[in-house]
């Protein structure tokens, strides 16, 4: 039985607006979320603009400190910003960012980029530093000659693979991945996802994987959480999430995906046509945040924000219709 490695409770992250017409108000990027991840598991976070999925990732990795709530990693509290965390946590959780264009410093060679995390944490092999780096490259299926190249001569896919190598270098227990393949071609994406799955097996890694691509999530995650306007609308084991989702937003998102085969059409659920615009996280509607677009909204939905309910083991939904 795998034990829990990451636990998030009541996490909130508000950003104050300092200028303009809305001064004094807050962007409620995350407004109270709870989830747990077990060792060796992949938790998928899905959502669209303003959902707060990236902010969640940044909170876990320490780019932001929590406004309220608690994040616990291996039993220790890591709710604060990275600079206030102990050094050993910085090597135990690593991150891969979305944009391959800016994730690597264009003025530094691959060798310099990969050496940095090792030298910070004193993990550099003094006798054979190059050999150590070459092994890292091989783990992500890149040849030794990449060592002296610069990011500008690499394609997007290669840069992301390097970002993964950098994340792996310190033998972390968990990697947070924020849309790592969204800007890549499908054939490159397949290669990287394959590699991630293989590495997970080999090193018993836990992943917090964020994407808007539900088809990808289906084949990658152990558990899926869908976010809307800073809150989790539904969270369930992957099979249940895709075969029997209960939240109208989950169903709406599923029905909007362009698929390529007839068999997949079945999973697009009752064809709930997406309508309306996504509200801004500054002006969250009163009651349930989804009420501006939900085809089933009733009176209650405009007054009270629903609570998370566990409708079956491990399956939570936040909706008045349950």
């Amino acid at each position: 039985m795998n034990k829990t490695i990451l636990e998030v409770k009541g996490l909130k992250k508000y950003f104050p607006i300092s200028k303009g017409a809305q001064k004094g108000m807050f962007v409620k990027a995350i407004d109270g979320i709870d989830f747990t991840t077990k060792e060796g598991e992949t938790l998928g976070l899905v959502g669209e603009s303003g959902s707060g999925k990236s902010t969640t990732a940044y909170n876990v990795i320490g780019m932001y400190g929590a406004t309220a709530g608690k994040i616990t990693f291996k039993g220790e509290d890591i709710s604060q910003i990275s600079s206030k965390r102990p050094l050993n946590f910085k090597k135990d959780i690593q991150m891969v960012f979305q944009d391959p264009g800016t994730t690597l410093n264009p003025q530094r060679s691959v060798r310099q980029i990969l050496t940095l995390p090792l030298s910070i944490h004193g993990m550099l092999d003094k006798n054979d530093p190059e050999g150590q780096l070459i092994q890292l490259l091989e783990a992500v299926e890149l040849s030794a000659e990449y060592l002296y190249k610069y990011p500008s001569s690499l394609g997007g896919g290669e840069r992301q693979m390097l970002a993964v190598a950098r994340a792996l270098s310190t033998n972390p227990s968990m990697i947070v991945l924020d849309e790592p393949t969204s800007s890549l071609d499908v054939s490159v994406q397949a290669k990287i996802i394959n590699m991630l799955l293989r590495l997970q097996q080999q090193h018993n890694l836990s992943y917090l994987f964020i994407t808007h691509d539900l088809s990808l999530m289906r084949n990658l995650a152990t558990k899926v959480a869908i976010m809307y306007l800073g809150k989790i609308a539904e969270i369930a084991p992957v099979e249940t999430f895709f075969t029997a989702p209960r939240h109208p937003y989950t169903q709406m998102l599923l029905s909007a995906i362009p698929v390529i085969s007839e068999e997949e059409e079945i999973f697009k659920q009752a064809k709930i046509t997406p309508k309306g615009e996504i509200p801004s996280p500054v002006n969250v509607p009163k009651g349930c945040g989804f009420n501006t677009r939900c085809p089933f909204a009733k009176e209650e939905c405009f007054i009270d924000d629903p609570l998370m309910q566990e409708i079956e083991p491990e399956h939570f939904v936040r909706c008045h219709l349950i």
Partner: protein
């Protein structure tokens, strides 16, 4: 293991990079002209004793028989009131000019740059505000006026006029690097380094600074011309290298009295100043193109 192979790969990459940089630079013909001019000035200045027709004329040389001769086949640019060959003196003066330019930049770029990095990275912090307010104060004063004021207090020598220019020049670099640092510190690769636990020194000098080099080198190239011009302006009013050492500005001011009759005494040094500034400016355009990353 494959060390030799990798070193070969590195060398080849570097060679390719240089070829590509040169290609970008040379796309604009005028930049190449600028480069040629600058190289010529440097060569003439450095090899003056060998190239100049009358190397002794740069010192305390007087020959009233040959004074104020217009440009002819012996004296290509004529002679001044003391009978000294103007061309040889101009070549020698190039030394002072280039020394001025390089000397000033060697001081202001690191000084201004480091202050800019600190102020930019810790923007919002009191130290950043302090640095930038002091910078603003210095920027409010016109560089020439400030240099004049400082020079007037100190004895007029090349070194002192260089120091005077330094005092008024450093804030421009602080502002340049500050601007770039405030943007660059939000780049993902910088955030990555922070999250990994890198030291602030590493982040400032190894992650951020290398990405500032483009605009920095462009500005430095252009500034060479402007510093030289400012230096010439200072020596024009007597605050620079003292006679008999030739300095372009002094030569112009001495010769101005003799316009328009003995025009060559002032005009040739003035043209020389113009040529240097133009050369660096044209080169600066090319450097900008060379460092811009357009594929």
């Amino acid at each position: 293991m494959n060390n030799k192979q990798e070193k070969v790969v590195t060398k080849r990459d570097k060679y390719e990079n240089i070829k590509q940089s040169w290609y970008k630079f040379s796309l604009n013909k005028m930049s190449v002209v600028g480069l040629v001019v600058v190289c010529l000035v440097a060569i003439l200045g450095v090899f003056e004793p060998i190239i100049a027709p009358f190397p002794t004329h740069v010192g305390a040389y007087v020959n009233f028989k040959e004074a104020s001769i217009p440009p002819n086949t012996t004296y290509w640019m004529g002679t001044d009131v003391f009978g000294r060959d103007i061309m040889s003196r101009i070549f020698y003066a190039f030394r002072g000019a280039l020394t001025m330019g390089i000397g000033v930049l060697v001081v202001v770029v690191p000084l201004g740059g480091i202050l800019g990095l600190i102020a930019g990275y810790w923007k919002g912090n009191w130290i950043s505000t302090l640095i930038m307010r002091v910078t603003d104060v210095f920027l409010a004063l016109p560089p020439l006026i400030l240099a004049l004021a400082v020079s007037a207090i100190l004895r007029p020598t090349l070194l002192n006029s260089m120091m005077a220019i330094c005092v008024s020049w450093w804030p421009w670099y602080t502002r340049l690097i500050y601007g770039m640092t405030t943007t660059l510190r939000n780049e993902l690769y910088v955030k990555s380094a922070e999250l990994l636990g890198a030291s602030k020194g590493h982040i400032l000098f190894r992650e951020i600074l290398p990405n500032c080099l483009g605009p920095l080198f462009t500005k430095m190239t252009l500034d060479m011309g402007w510093v030289i011009l400012t230096g010439a302006s200072l020596s024009f009013v007597g605050l620079g290298e003292q006679p008999p050492i030739p300095s372009l500005g002094t030569m112009v001011s001495d010769g101005a009295k003799f316009l328009p009759a003995q025009w060559w005494i002032a005009i040739f040094p003035a043209l020389a100043i113009m040529v240097i500034v133009l050369g660096f400016n044209l080169m600066g355009d090319g450097i900008k193109d060379m460092l811009s990353s357009e594929e």
